[in-house]
Amino acid sequence: MAQMWITMGPQHPMTHGLWTLRVKVDGETVVDTEAELGYIHRGVEKICEARDFTQVTPYCDRLCYVSAMTWANSYIYAAEDLLEADVPERAEYIRLIAAELQRLASHLMWLGAFGPDIGNLTLMTWCMRDREMFLDLLQELGGSRMHYNYPRIGGVKRDIPIGFGDRMIAKVKLFEKRIEEYEMMLDESTIWLVRLQGVGYANAEEMVEAGVSGPNVRAAGVNYDIRWAHPYSVYDEVDWEPAVEKPTSVKGADCYDRYRVRIEEMRQSCRMLLDAIEKIPGGKNTHYSSRDEMIYTKAPTRAPEGASGFSNYECTRGASQFYVQGGGEGRGKMPYRLSIRSPMFITIPFVAKTMIGYKVADIPAIMGSFDPCIGETDR
């Protein structure tokens, strides 16, 4: 049969954003693929060269629209490396709580978007319903639904409100039950299993070689999580285990493994949250004023000439890294060069090649299981 190229995107339900996947199909089988990015390239790196170190944070929020808090945190750690700031421990705890809440919201958004990819619309509304719980909690911290601008160099913007801890515990405990509901709906449905199992194999070594990171490699059995490999917040003090999937095939992880590993990661986030809110220094029912030394330490605003800062952060989709160079003639307040490493930028071309050999109907399943986010990819 003749082969033909199909252009999927930029406006296509499969893409979860704006990018183009060009697929060469032979009947229903994918023969070749090409990924094309850049539809929302915004030049954040260039704009940030004209911003203060503090003014960069909102742009980092907007890098990835479903996990704003983790991206802002990632930048903050790079800036703290550059400016040599000290962070109070309570602030680190609050950052951990905020990041894990964001991880829950982000994974729920992923599961919600993954449902329609496979054809299950109910999953989307259920996940978005539960996501609102965590958005409410994050809103108490940052004041906004999506872009919080919450962490500061040397601390956080404001302390957790009174009652936040109790509300969070209640919601997290409720959510742990909801995870079981999802599993009941999905894992016990044969259609869900046959759509995901044995589809989209990705080998661990190839993935690491290609630069894929985060839950996608943990699904293939690589127990690498920056939260323990290069601990940055107080992840070494709270109770958790990295969620790693044991692959059932030598070919690596399939879509089902990637789905399971994220479900498990949500469980681990719940566990972490419940522990962290108990262990937080100063207590969960205390509210310090916004410039209190418990949550904020004043950091220098000017970076020394030639200094550089680097952060390696476990974002919801993998390792997000920031590299900040300070200094320059008379412009020590602004980064001379801000470089952003997005996990999905390297993953998307890899995933495009992963699809070869599967059916057209598997394209959304494979693509969705890798959790693409184009905001951070195109920067």
Binding site: R42, I47, Y65, R145
Partner: protein, 197 residues
């Protein structure tokens, strides 16, 4: 355009011939027939058109997530007939929810041209209105209204889903006025800005 002064009793074949028959241009003929229909069934079609706003399922950036949230349990845009269709042929509203880069500019114009009249455009969020935080960028247009006409602006970064729903409400208010007028003939109509008293 539905004019309240038009006589509704004017429905007979002669009127149709008078309005349409003399025109040879195909496109104009179609427009005339549509005009006639909208005069004919005026209110009813206007009501139908504003109560059933199918939105193109186009997610550009942050606001796309709020667009999705507006369709889900807490906000439930379905109450007002706001559904999301993936094909531009079947949608009425182009919801631009993010910055328009130079690479995407001609694509969004094409999407807009693929949508059948009457169609409406909502610019959601700062990026679509003016470039937003990226107004200085080398790759971002200063708002989607540089390439396609916009009916409603919803400011916010991103606007909350309530604001989006309010934007749809204001668009419906506008449709009461303009009816199914083709998008190219609406230049005199002032765009609506949500929250602007």
């Amino acid at each position: 355009m539905a004019d309240p002064g038009e006589n509704f009793a004017a429905f007979n074949s002669r009127a149709l011939v008078e309005m349409v028959g003399g025109v040879t241009d195909e496109a104009l003929k179609v427009t005339r027939i549509k005009q006639f229909l909208s005069v004919l069934a005026g209110r009813f079609f206007n009501w139908a058109g504003r109560k059933s706003l199918f939105t193109l399922h186009l997610g550009i950036k942050c606001c796309a997530i709020e667009m999705a949230a507006a369709a889900t349990p807490r906000f439930d845009g379905d109450r007002f007939g706001v559904l999301f269709r993936s094909s531009p042929r079947q949608s009425d509203v182009l919801l631009v929810n993010g910055p328009i880069s130079k690479k995407f500019a001609d694509k969004i114009v094409r999407l807009w041209e693929q949508m059948p009249e009457p169609k409406y455009c909502i610019a959601m969020g700062e990026c679509a209105i003016s470039g937003g935080p990226y107004f200085q960028s080398y790759n971002i247009l200063e708002g989607v209204d540089t390439v396609i006409p916009v009916d409603v602006y919803i400011p916010g970064c991103p606007p909350r889903p309530e604001a989006l729903i309010d934007g749809f409400g204001l668009l419906r208010e506008k449709i009461i006025r303009i009816g199914g007028a083709p998008s190219s003939g609406r230049d005199s109509e002032k765009p609506i800005i949500v929250g602007d008293e």
